[in-house]
Symmetry: C2
Subunit: 419 residues, 2 copies
């Protein structure tokens, strides 16, 4: 068990700075030894964050190879844009470093196969930092599912229902690094951002451990919202109002599972709508939870119950959140960002596998590529690869700790690290 | 223009009695000349309803052919169980009678083709009594869509999210005529009840008039809820707790349209959940409406708005509902049952086509059969028949009246008939 670890952070953009400021710079058992970004002003702003928090000055570099191979570094955290992540992750694994990547998707299945090959060759853990897996609501749903209180799970759903033109897609246009999502929406048409919903759902459904995704079917509505938003926000004459964006406004995806469950995902970011929730939903034969109405429901309850989530937290909070909330708030996204990073670092310190492991990571990464294939074929189901090559039938939980997303383990012997 | 019309009612079960009591027996311009049911006590209860309301005593019969051919009858209303409707409707059309059928679905596409053949051969109108097309919310959505306030429509959704074991499926078991849905759930696995959502959506999307459904893909979760409900409600030893029901608990269906829109439907009746809404949703490039949060949203509105439907009714009520509400309440389902029947009877009286016409009717009827095919093929998209044989490209609205669901026509020259 290491008391202190050194990490390299690659990609100090919007998300990278945020993670650095809100979490990493406050975790004194984690030394940020290296900051890496191809854009020097981003590096400088990362250095400033660490200085402000009184942390040691890191080495800075624009060279990814230098960063992942830097002597003494135990782990690499990759928060670059979507396009570079898997190839950087592969370098980090081959350099023997625990590797964490921010949420996102592969463009092509080969990226997943290369990553899993690097993992199987080196045995070095790889973890997607899917913060929503550690959300309070999602962890309560996970607990209720694992404890059988929903009965047999039959269906799960979720959606990224967040209208982005005003908050992200066009707001950034003046910046030297506008959000890369806009470029992706210009050329691609698929479920490009599924993991906030799919990650927690995959854990509820025991994917890669006794269950697996079998087929994926995806459907795109016509596009129209982005062009309309560009007209409204930037004016009819803006070049952005003249682009024929490929990304359909509403992408609906259905995944079928080996054990007979269905999963429904929506990507809903370009047609105007209010923002309510990610609609995290678990349906079983004895009960359900649904984020949209903040409800946990068990058979026999009254027919129109809603907004009982707070009282359910009292009763069914996941032990990790019970402990976390007893410490006071740390980090943003209601603790999810903090906890997912702690889950990673505790694995690095203990030298174990990570609770979201390499197979989970590549399975979730694969969705965008599969979705694009299905949409191009008019909604034909495409086969979901079995990245475990059959090991899913007998695989155990990758880590036995309180951070496990496969079992509910209460353990106060190693308290949650708090600032 | 006929001042008074005579009708035959076939099927005086649960829904039939309800329609009789709440609407038909109160419409003094409509004489219920014939009641028909194969079950004599049902006939008797129909006679009692009419007697109680002071209406003339009808002829009663158990013979469908006798009923549809009864001299002087202008129109036939079919409210039997799901299985017999299309074949009875065909008889009625061939007998030259305006024909209305309650909502439901065909088991096989041949039923749709036979009906459309009978329609094309006779020219006699056929209308599905899809009451939700005349719901206040749905008609406001229709108006907003037709007036362009949502921009270009890209996606619609709806779901029958109603847990039925306690209210319908098992509650009836003591009755000599328990709900026929249970038998259907025992043997079939498909979207068996789509029209409450799909009817209004089809009208928003101009289906069969400049647009059409192209493909349908359907996905079933595993079943489990009904068996569990039978155990809970009837006991482990009940024969109903030992049935392996075929119907999946959650059926998700995606329809793609010629003009690029997607439609998502859910059938969600056997896994325990609260009842909120049918989730009628229309999404466009400038705005949306969504029943689940009772919201109408236009671009630029605040991000977390909800429950503004009442003020939107003030502003955007469909003229038919504005007039209807000025008359005071009649009938149940907030007037939808009354209005859909009046839409039918006004067409009979005027001798015009019906606002939901034969092509609409068979298109909506086809969904269950297509859904079953797709589910059996693992979610493969199946082609949606073009029952219009190409006429959809140039078809006009079937009726120019205030009951039109294709245009917003305000007309006070013929007031809504009220009791």
């Amino acid at each position: 068990m290491k008391q202190k670890i050194k990490i390299a952070c690659i990609g100090i953009g919007r998300r990278g700075s945020n993670v650095l400021e809100e979490c990493l710079a406050q975790m004194t058992d984690v030394e940020i030894a290296v900051l890496c970004d191809r854009y020097p002003p981003a590096l400088q702003s990362g250095v400033e964050i660490l200085k402000k928090k009184g942390r040691p000055e890191p080495v800075t570099t624009t060279d990814v190879d230098f960063a992942v191979q830097y002597p003494g570094v135990d782990a690499v955290i990759i928060t670059t844009g979507w396009d570079g992540r898997p190839s950087i992750a592969k370098k980090a694994l081959l350099a023997g470093k625990y590797t964490a990547i921010e949420v996102g998707c592969a463009f092509d299945l080969s990226e997943c196969y290369e990553l899993i090959e690097a993992y199987e060759q080196t045995g070095v853990p790889l973890m997607m930092l899917e913060n929503c897996c550690y959300g309070r609501r999602e962890m309560m749903g996970l607990r209720l599912a694992k404890e059988g209180l929903f009965g047999e799970i039959v269906h799960c759903a979720g959606g990224y229902h967040h209208y982005l033109p005003e908050v992200e897609l066009f707001e950034d246009l003046g910046n030297p690094n506008p959000h890369y999502r806009l470029g992706s929406y210009k050329y691609r048409n698929c479920e490009q951002y599924p993991t906030h919903e799919l990650g927690p759902i995959a854990k509820v459904l025991n994917i890669n451990r006794g269950n697996r995704f079998m087929t994926l079917s995806s459907f795109a509505s016509k596009p129209g919202g982005l062009k309309q938003a560009a007209k409204t926000l930037l004016g009819e004459d803006s070049p952005y109002a003249k682009i024929d964006y490929k990304q359909g406004d509403i992408i609906t995806t259905i995944i079928t599972c080996a054990n007979g469950e269905t999963v429904q995902l929506s990507l809903d970011t370009t047609a105007p709508r209010p923002y309510y929730s990610r609609d995290f939903t678990v349906r079983g034969t004895k009960g359900m939870c649904g984020e949209e109405r903040h409800v946990v429901y068990f058979e026999g309850m009254e027919e129109n119950i809603e907004n009982n989530e707070e009282e359910m937290f009292e009763k069914y909070d996941h032990p990790l959140h019970r402990e976390y909330h007893s410490l006071g708030e740390c980090g943003n996204h209601e603790g999810a960002d903090w906890l997912v990073l702690r889950a990673f670092f505790e694995s690095v310190k203990a030298g174990t596998n990570t609770p979201i492991d390499a197979y989970d990571t590549v399975t979730w990464l694969a969705v965008a590529a599969l979705s694009e294939m299905s949409i191009q074929k008019g909604g034909m189901p495409v086969n979901f690869p079995d990245f475990t090559k059959g090991k899913w039938i007998n695989r155990e939980s990758p880590v036995k700790s309180k951070y496990s997303l496969d079992e509910i383990i209460e353990d106060k012997s190693v308290p949650i690290f708090a600032k």
